[in-house]
């Protein structure tokens, strides 16, 4: 009160601010140790000068031996010309040496830092886990192993097999038998838990992804592998109420349920990252619960990184991860139980196996301090390895990359700008539909539309005509189609109509198959020619034909430059020439048709 009377209010505020800044600065300086002090070393490097006589170096070496009671040794026989010697010592010895007269005879005295190779776990069967190498988990372990994060495994339960002995568990619940002890009677849940957090570096069995994370076992599926949505919804709520950070659901079905949807919204609001398998019916939409909002739907990859044949795809798939193929070397190997309840190492396949990979990496990302589930999803998507020409959304944002995800999360928060740019670049801006960025290459599309308008403008300068809806329609149909429709995936709806509507006339020939190689019958002057021939004497439709010819000319022209792949012509010079000639013919066709219109 006294100070506030002496100092005007505004100055008071300023003073407070300056004080805070100073305190912050001091705190920062005090805590800043620099990068160099973080390294580990047990030895010190002395690099003696080369311009002094060897006898002087020998004197200094014996001085070190006497004064510090150390035995300097050449680092190797190759160190002799450079006079590089090594002594044992810690930070105190290092400082003493740097202050001693010996320092004058050296170029430098520095710690002999120990550089570590990437951590390869000592689990003997780790070499069979192609899946862990393919998601690059080793570099991720340099940052974190998931310590402090809890992953709820909503499944058939988890049995205490030997390779889960060091894994930390927190209290879960058995919703099938209504009891607190949760064991597995199928082998599925134990396997899934193994992928997430199998005991690792224990000289036994195989590794898991977030092996320092806590696992919360929640049993909702019976021995035959099925369970009700009511139990699943309760398990999700249980996990959210008991501080789970990540939920893995390697399960799915066809039924939409309000109860389940509400439980998911509840858990998401409490900050839980929810992951579910996309399903194994090889159909073009994920099953429930993967298809719900706020759930990360995971498709499965084979050992080559291709979509596994059984995996669902299309709507609801956010990312892809190893699910394996077959029950041999191509499957996912973890320790689980057999039908007699005995522990054994078995390879499974399925999107059930792919989901826990994402759950494990989500746990690693959360362990770096990232809290919001939407942020975690963005990191997972943004760091995924994009798959080109993924027109049917087999892979979602791409193939899971643990190393890149953790690095991105550690590097800091994604700024709004980054996020917005990424949204825009990938075409995710439409809130209603999930738009796959890979389906539409936006830039060439815009070039096609603009190009066709430029051509029309060019014609108009020399042969004045009026713009009409039919001309505009023709321009759009010929150049780009309603290209934004191409990335639409609506659940259970075949995607073909969107691809066709989203294609220009030259692209229709390859839109049904969903690839990007142009069909020469469509990507040529043929269709515009037929249209002009039939519509030339119809006053309105004629402009549609002219617009189409101009649009196709622009589309073929852009394709000739950007992606000249034509079926039967390859993707080289021949295809380019074919496209260019046809583009010119389309333009000439439009020119002729417009000339026809002019009064002579």
């Amino acid at each position: 009160m006294l100070i506030s009377k002496l100092v005007p209010k505004d100055d008071m505020k300023k003073l407070l601010l300056v004080g805070l800044v100073l305190i912050g600065l001091c705190f920062g300086l005090f805590n800043f140790k620099g990068l160099a002090s973080q390294g580990e070393f047990e030895e010190i490097v002395l690099d003696f000068r080369e311009d002094i006589p060897i006898s002087q170096i020998d004197n200094q070496l014996s001085a070190i031996a006497q004064q510090f009671n150390l035995a300097p040794q050449l680092n190797s026989i190759f160190s002799l010309p450079d006079n590089v010697y090594i002594v044992k010592g810690d930070r105190a010895t290092l400082k003493a040496l740097q202050k001693s007269p010996v320092a004058k005879s050296t170029e430098y005295i520095e710690p002999n830092y120990i550089y570590k190779a990437l951590e390869v776990p000592n689990d003997p069967e780790y070499n069979k886990q192609w899946n862990l190498r393919s998601i690059k988990v080793e570099s991720a372990w340099d940052e974190t192993k998931g310590s402090g994060v809890t992953v709820a495994v909503i499944d058939t339960g988890i049995s205490p097999v030997p390779d889960l002995k060091q894994t930390k568990f927190v209290r879960g619940y058995d919703f099938v038998n209504n009891r607190e002890t949760v064991t597995d009677d199928s082998g599925h849940g134990t396997h899934v838990a193994g992928t997430i957090a199998q005991s690792t570096n224990n000289n036994y069995g195989v590794a898991g992804i977030a092996y320092e994370a806590n696992v919360m076992p929640l049993k909702v599926l019976s021995a035959f592998g099925g369970g009700t949505v009511a139990d699943i919804a309760e398990a999700i709520k249980f996990a959210a109420d008991h501080n789970a950070d990540v939920i893995n659901m390697s399960l799915g079905g066809g039924g939409d349920s309000h109860l389940l949807k509400d439980a998911i919204t509840y858990a998401h609001r409490k900050g839980v990252v929810i992951i579910a398998a996309a399903g194994n019916a090889s159909k073009n939409a994920a099953s429930y619960p993967a298809r719900y909002p706020h759930v990360i739907g995971v498709a499965a990859l084979d050992p080559a990184g291709e979509k596994a044949p059984y995996s669902n795809f299309g709507a609801g798939v956010d990312i892809s991860a190893p699910g394996g193929v077959g029950t041999g070397a191509g499957g996912i190997l973890q320790e689980t139980i057999n039908s007699d309840g005995q522990a054994m190492f078995v390879s499974f396949q399925g999107t059930s196996m792919a989901a826990p990979h994402v759950a494990g990496v989500a746990a690693l990302v959360k362990a770096t301090g990232m809290k919001e589930p939407d942020q975690v999803l963005n990191v997972l998507k943004k760091s995924a390895m994009r798959v080109k020409n993924d027109t049917l959304n087999h892979y979602g944002a791409g193939q899971l990359d643990a190393a890149a995800a953790v690095k991105l999360a550690v590097r800091g928060q994604i700024s709004f700008q980054d996020f917005f740019r990424w949204l825009r670049d990938n075409g995710y801006l439409n809130p209603r539909f999930w738009i796959d960025g890979g389906a539409v290459a936006l830039f060439p599309k815009l070039a096609m539309v603009l190009g066709s308008y430029l051509l029309a403008w060019f014609l108009r300068v020399y042969f004045p005509f009026t713009w009409s809806w039919s001309l505009l329609g023709g321009l759009v149909a010929g150049s780009s189609g309603l290209f934004f429709l191409r990335g639409f995936y609506i659940f259970d709806f075949p995607q073909v109509p969107f691809r066709v509507m989203g294609s220009s006339i030259p692209e229709i020939g390859n839109a049904i198959a969903g690839n990007s190689i142009l069909n020469p019958l469509f990507a040529s002057v043929l269709i515009p020619f037929i249209l002009v021939a039939f519509l030339l004497n119809k006053p309105m439709w004629k402009w549609f034909a002219i617009g189409t010819a101009l649009g196709v000319a622009a589309c073929l022209g852009v394709n000739a430059v950007v992606s000249p792949a034509v079926w039967g012509f390859g993707s080289g010079a021949i295809a380019r020439i074919f496209l260019l000639i046809n583009a010119l013919m389309c333009y000439s066709l439009a020119l002729l048709a417009v000339k026809e219109e002019q009064p002579r």
Binding site: H188, A230, G254, N280, Q349, S352
Partner: protein, 75 residues
């Protein structure tokens, strides 16, 4: 709602494994609550049952078909 479908019983090796009924038109059902004598790979059967939308499974190979009754179909 009860449905009747004809198809072949198969063992699916998705995840921990499941029983499937592949119908002649290419639909795959996941068989649920089936008596042991139905579950023979390659067996051609006519199954009457109910689609359980409220059940989710680890196999995720198709709609869950809860078996009420079945009869063997001779080739």
């Amino acid at each position: 709602m009860s449905i009747t479908v004809t198809g072949t019983i198969q063992r699916s090796d998705m995840g921990a494994g499941a029983w499937a009924l592949s119908t002649d038109d290419g639909t795959t059902y996941e068989v649920h609550n089936a008596p042991k004598d139905l579950l023979l790979p390659g067996k051609k059967v006519k199954v009457t049952g109910q689609i359980r939308e409220d059940i989710m499974t680890i196999a995720m190979i198709g709609p869950v078909l809860e078996v009420r009754s079945f009869e063997t179909v001779s080739e």
